[in-house]
Amino acid sequence: MTRDERPLSVVPALVWGVLMVALAGQIAWRTLQAPPAPQAEDLPPTPSTQALRLAGFGEPNALARVMMLYLQAFDSGSTNTQPYRRLDYGRLIGWLDAILALDPRSEYPLFTASRIYAEVQDTAKSRAMLEFIYREFFVDPDHRWQPLANAALLAKHRLHDLPLARRYAAAIDRYTRSPDVPLWARQMQIFILEDMNELEAARIMLGGLLASGQIKDPAEARFLAQRLKDLEGRMERAPHR
């Protein structure tokens, strides 16, 4: 793969100059045009699942995961003190729904739904996301109980809606059949009713997940550990009730 070439010194100075100026111009132009972090209002309407399948050229699994990275970039800028709160949750749920349709076995959409989008400080949006998780749980209860278990905790501790939390916990008990679903998850109704705070409940849940080997992905383990740490900090700062 070699070719005969004349030395660099034979290239006229003018050509060198134009090349360097053009390269510098390109870099300067792109620096000025650095894309801003995607804002909440930039989230486009959900494309149809069929259109996404067409765009994926037979690679729905890869497309689903790349779309999740795309989706989680909206309204998540580092200067954003309340990320995701300004998102249009109707559209957001549509996107998560479409991604789940592309790869129903992926846990990513419901993981973000329960661990990120449902935790926003907006009761209506949080409820909408919890209902989405509850609805999707019935498609495959044995593999989608974890997001619903977290949804039950959120319903109790964030929304202070005990009947809703019990409904979610009861669904896990009633509809899961796999032996892989741990006993504590089936008996969630009990510790929903117990008088424990959010941190204790989260510790039990996360400890149970880690002990049972349900969390295998290192990124997920890191994320959940950080969440637990954040929760501990928040509980320490909060006035004791």
């Binding site: 793969m1 149809s48 069929q50 259109a51 399948r53 067409l54 994926g56 050229f57 037979g58 690679e59 729905p60 699994n61 890869a62 497309l63 995961r65 790349v66 999740m68 990275l69 989680q72 790869d103 076995r105 992926s106 846990e107 990513y108 993981f111 973000t112 661990r115 990120i116 992905d217 290192p218 990124a219 997920e220 994320f223």
Partner: protein, 253 residues
Amino acid sequence: MPAAILARLALIEARRGGLGWLALLALVLGVALAGFLSQLALTESRMLQAAVVAALLRVAAVFLIAGQVVASVRREIDDKRLELSLSLPFSRSTQYLARLGGFVALGALLAALFALPSLLWAQPLAVLCWAISLACELALVAAAALFFAMTLAQLVPALAATVALYLLARSIGAMQAMAAGPLAPDNLLQELARYALSAVALLLPSLDRITRTDWLLYGAPDGASFLSGIAGALLYAVLLAAAGVFDFQRRTA
């Protein structure tokens, strides 16, 4: 076997043309990009890497093999080397199929190389199925590229036709699903379009059923679906090879 010399020439030309370095570069870039994306993932980071690497390398392998076949054959024709080789004591069928054999072997080597990184994230059996399937897919692409390079007079139309056939074959299933979906209008025109699409689908391989990324994510496919998928791809490669030999027999020079 003298015809094997022609097949070997295809491999030597690919090596001397730097295809191996290009393949390695694609592999490194694919793994690096997937590694970067996995850092952004909150969960399923390994699955994301496996899926992205597999999808990227599949496309890269197809592009490399199609480009190599079309460029090699067009150069052979333009340099009048094809005329020279026609004077050799081989039948035209042998000459055509020997060339194709070389390109198929090249595709198998690429498939083996591009399957290696998946061993980091997926079960060996699933990776083996994926690699065999990719080799069959590349055999089909090589057959298509050879056919179009021989029958179309220029490089760009030949490459465009190969890529168009490949993309259409990968998306025809989704198109059929869209045409038959509940949102499609129920009128005569739509009905005709649906039949036309079904007719086109009969002439295409279903590439969306082979070399599936979900094998790497969720486990190896069942034997029946795997074999039926690669049998379909090989059958189409045979069809393209037969069409190519048919056209090559009629070629004046």
